[in-house]
Amino acid sequence: MTVAPYVALIPLLPLAGATILGLAGVPLQRRLGKAAVSWLACGTVAASFVLAVAAFLQLTTLDPEHRLLLVRLFPWIHVGTLGVDVAFAVDPLSAVMILVVTGIGGLIHLYSVGYMHEDPAYWRFFAYLNLFTFAMLTLVLGDNLLVMFVGWEGVGLCSWGLIGFWHKELANTRAGNKAFIVNRIGDFGFVLGVFLLFWSLDARGHGTLVFRELATHAHLLAGETQWGVPVATLVTLLFFVGATGKSAQIPLYVWLPDAMAGPTPVSALIHAATMVTAGVYMIARLNFLFAMAPATLAVVAVIGAATAVLAATIALAQNDIKRVLAYSTVSQLGYMFLAMGVGAYAAGIFHLMTHAFFKACLFLGSGSVIHAMSGEQDMRKMGGLREKLPATSTTFIVATLAIAGIPPLAGFFSKDEILWQVYSSPYGSPMLWAVGVTVAGLSAFYMFRQVFMVFFGPCHADHETAHHLHESPATMTVPLWILMGGSVLAGLLWIPHVFLPFEAWLEPVVGVHVAVAHHAELAVELSLTLFSVLVALAGIGLAYTIYYRRRPDPAVFGRVLGGVPHRILLNKYYVDELYDLLFVRGVLLVCRMAAWFDLRVIDGLVNLSAAIVRGWAWASGLFDGYVVDGAVNALADVAQFVGRRVRNLQSGAINAYLYVVLIGVLGGVLLYWSLVSAS
């Protein structure tokens, strides 16, 4: 363990940027222009990136067992047995994450300079973006679960602000709210997980929330049960609920496609490269807990696989350029969870990193397309953009090849490693492997469907839009080229003995819990690899025949392969409608039933009793009128007489009341006293 104070600057620099922009953004933009805002926002993240590289390099100089840079800022909560510091730690896992967050985040900041240039609330966008970077860095650098949770909530908050960034459209703010509320459901699970973990460890004398100490003491939970369920399983399931919310897995994935309402750089940064991977990171960080709960691992793997298939099939039928990418993201996240579920933590984190490269590239490319098309997002109105947007189309196509898993691009290595581990790990199974390969084929198909619809064939844009078509400025294309470079080269990190082997790098953190018969069955592995590449190529070929050669025509294809399945996919399996029906409508239905019950049954009873009383009253009224009234009138006269006199007591003067109260209290105590002393 090495103390490295400069590590604290990595998250604090973006925070400083966000603070300055948030408090003084308006005058800054008016006096010094948008350039000042851009320099401040990009500069802080770039500086963080430099520091992150420095931290990474310092880690490489240390022994694998002692690769940990730590900085304690201040003690935060020290009460009872609970001791929490605000502390940041860089270990191999978080080093990878901060490089991704600051590196890709910095590129996306740069891209936003061009993309958001026309927006009047330019400073606000960058304030949010910097704040998000701070929160994400806090999440990955946090030395204990509470600091991590601060970042976990912070990214959700920034995501809310950025999805609804163009808040004048009601739909955008709704999408933001949906994202936030669905995320909160997951966060609830996370918090309960933290509580239960601390509580059960505390009961065994080692209450702690620091990751390293948790790893040391986690074995205390082995064999312990709570409410008949193993504690480890319960805790990890709760954490996984949190992960499903943040990382858009079944059943809480519904917010991510709607989150595309935000500006495209936001989709790239938050909803593809960084925030949504928080759940994967968290599981990798707590791998020692998950390793104790095979049941949870099975759940994680199955949910991951199911999400991957579900999202991939939905993506087949979408026509909005960003929605296809959104469902693709959900599907790829499913892949990462599948990897986590079979214990292939290193492979999952590796896929997280390569995915960050190519999905950020794809999103930024789609932003460039949307920018060129004057805001149009419907792929049916695009086509033939390859000549007009040479840089965008080249980078987009290369990134698409990467996500499809074509060797030797980055996606091939990460996807192939996950598939192999799914096949060979003791937690995995050939069934899950088959699902993974299917998803790979589907991904290749729908991604190339997108490429052919957008960049090839005849142009379907109207005259006005077509006239305005132009390549984006350099601030937007340079990040695209760099990200494309990452998508091509990042895979090399996985090859043993080149540079720094990724798996060995992560080993001190995630360990090798799963004793995989590593690369022993070379023939099996090679044939599986070959098979998955062939499946991907088949997907690309199918997309080529349908959407490029147009034989069969896509419309005919859609009709033949089924009106009904196509409609179901187009409407995303009606899951939003189902949730609406089950939860939103359900509440309304209960309300309506209660109202009906009130109106008919309760009111009926009341009316009935009223009628009875009315009849009785009529009868007694006769009696009253003649016999009782006389007596009552006399009584009333007496009451009025008394009232006129007593009324003065109710003076409305507070002091007088106070006298009465005080004298009453004194009298009461005196009475009590005399009774006590008398007995």
Binding site: G652, A653, I654, N655, Y659, L662
Partner: protein
């Protein structure tokens, strides 16, 4: 503590309590009444802390004094808000003038 005893503080608390009570009883200004209540609360706090100190009961007395201060803050906020509300509709905060409910 020399020859300072619990009695000193109890008597001091008693005097403050009596003065606060007097203030509450005789003031016609609503804010004056609230000030009287503050005096009464302070006298109670002195007693809490003094008894805690001379009985060695740990921090319970001080914690309760903190809760009392907290409640006094809430009471002052609400009370003064009400006083301002009364002033807006009656143009005075004389408690004997604000008896519209009676008529």
């Amino acid at each position: 503590m020399g020859d300072l005893s619990l009695g000193h503080f109890v008597v001091l608390g008693g005097i403050l309590f009596a003065l606060g009570l007097f203030c509450v009883l005789t003031r016609r200004n609503a804010i004056g009444i609230l000030m009287g209540i503050e005096l009464v609360l302070n006298s109670a706090n002195i007693n809490y802390v003094a008894f805690a100190r001379y009985n060695q009961t740990g921090y319970d007395g001080q914690v309760f004094a903190i809760f009392v201060i907290m409640l006094a803050a809430a009471e002052a906020a609400i009370g003064l808000a009400i006083v301002l509300g009364i002033y807006q509709s009656f143009e005075t905060i004389d408690v004997e003038a604000t008896d519209r409910l009676r008529r």
